[in-house]
């Protein structure tokens, strides 16, 4: 682990150069160890794939003291075994072609049938590596290399809420209508971000997510909406 300066009131901890469950778990452990300082000398933290950014209040502390807090958190967590405390959340997804404008294309490029793509996408548990880009946007990974697909050359101006998408070896559910360049392969009827709900999000960093294929009827009965002409 190495610590770099990010800004006047932020340090960033790098745990490695590659994405892995172990790295993600170490980040989670240190973040848990530091969480009791948030609201005091620490203002916020941003966990991501292989890093943890720690933001502090420079009028209450300084970077040297924060480095010390980080080292202590690291020491305490290294004695704990990575126990994968995260929960497993099942997200239903409707993969019908009326909900999946890029599914046929992705399958064709991968040399697979649509059903094979769906089977592969639903077969695995994905880890929530990071949340960002937009409120509630959870970066899940990594998808099977067979269904990995590059971002669209031209991003869509409007991706529908709930769109289940793939970019490279990442997958995600768009929490709200937004622009986006990921390949859309289905729709999820579960709210990924609801300011009025508690918790606001069904998942958090460190959790595992598994998609479950549902039929059109079930999708609609769960409150899902089909919007024609997505894109």
């Amino acid at each position: 682990m190495k610590i770099q300066v990010a800004g006047e009131n932020a340090l960033i901890l790098y745990f490695g150069d590659a994405v892995s469950d172990d790295v993600s778990q170490s980040i989670q452990n240190v973040a848990n160890g530091l969480s009791r300082y948030v609201g005091g000398v620490l203002i916020d933290m941003v966990p991501s794939y292989a890093s943890l950014m720690v933001i502090f209040n420079p009028l209450l502390t300084d970077h040297l003291k924060v480095r010390q807090l980080i080292r202590e958190a690291l020491k305490n967590t290294s004695q704990e075994k990575a126990d994968g405390q995260g929960s497993v959340i099942t997200l239903p997804a409707y993969y019908g072609l009326d909900a999946a404008p890029d599914l046929e294309n992705l399958a064709e490029n991968a040399g697979l049938s649509c059903q094979q793509v769906i089977d592969i996408h639903t077969a695995m548990q994905y880890r929530v590596y990071a949340i960002g880009f937009a409120p509630g946007f959870a970066y899940l990974g990594e998808v099977d290399a067979r269904i990995a697909a590059p971002r669209l050359a031209t991003p869509r101006k409007k991706v529908p809420k709930g769109a289940v998408a793939i970019a490279d070896r990442q997958t995600a559910v768009y929490p709200a209508v937004s622009p986006g360049g990921w390949n859309l392969i289905g729709l999820c009827p579960v709210d990924m971000f609801n300011p009025k709900a508690k918790p606001t999000m069904p998942v958090q960093v460190g959790d595992k997510v598994q998609f479950k294929s549902i039929e059109r009827e079930e999708f609609l009965s769960l409150g899902g909406q089909l919007i024609n002409g997505a894109g």
């Binding site: 300066v5 990010a6 991501s48």
Partner: protein, 313 residues
Amino acid sequence: MQIEILSPGILSLIQDAGRFGQHAIGLTSGGPMDPTAFKWANRLLNNDQNATAIETTVGGLKIKSHGTTRVAITGAQVDVKINGTRQPQWQSLDLTMGDELELGYATNGCRIYLAVAGGFKIEKQFSSNSTVAREGVGGLTGKSLAKGDKLDCHALICQADAHQSLPQSLRPEYNDSVTLRVIPGYQQAHFSDHEKAMFFQNEFKVSELCDRMGYRLTGPQVSCDIDGILSEGICLGAIQVPKDGQPIILMNDRQTIGGYPKMGSVLSLDLANLAQLTQGGSVKFEAITIDDAHNLLALAQHKFENSKAEPVA
């Protein structure tokens, strides 16, 4: 007691100090682009310095008072009129039932703050009133203020206290060119000495792509020996350098994570000056250490706390 928005002008947003501790669900911090001007607007009214106020960009805001209160307008230089009569900035002003206050368009700087006695009373979302329109969070409805919006605030029973004004010598000056002190960090080691020299010795211009999310600059191309990184946390003032070599300085409404290499981050005190610049403004960079930054922040805080507004005779 309410303040009614007759016209929001170019862009008017409800802001408090910002939204903190919510990055884990992807929410950015928001908050005033020029915190010093924002805090002064509140201090001139004896408010908590982070009480909820309005940030207007460029100008054109017009409000009507449905009761008795006091307001203060700070930040960018702009014509202020109450019922058609010119009024000073950086000073508390009385409003009574039916009064209309109108802002012209900024002639110096671009972020204007309007605070009201006691602050606006709006239900907080995720522990803050700060509006981030991109996220649909904060303010009255998650959006910028619109004609007809009514903002609750305290009625002032007595306006007998002396008005307060910030002495001219303590008012910030907004220039067309700024020097931004930078704490090198993040991927700075991936920029060669030559590229760093290009960055720190040349002048950049603010492009037309400048908003509360980020300021994109144009100037000599600065190259990095990597194209991208694993997406990671972006702090306030971070300087992203995408492949085209044109730096983007990330502001209050930035996305919380991203995958472009970064040179380091701008000192927040200078970021507020950048926020007052519009397209065509000049920017130069100067490197400082994080220890320098801590000292400068402590000094600025000390100076702010020990600066006093004066009663108006």
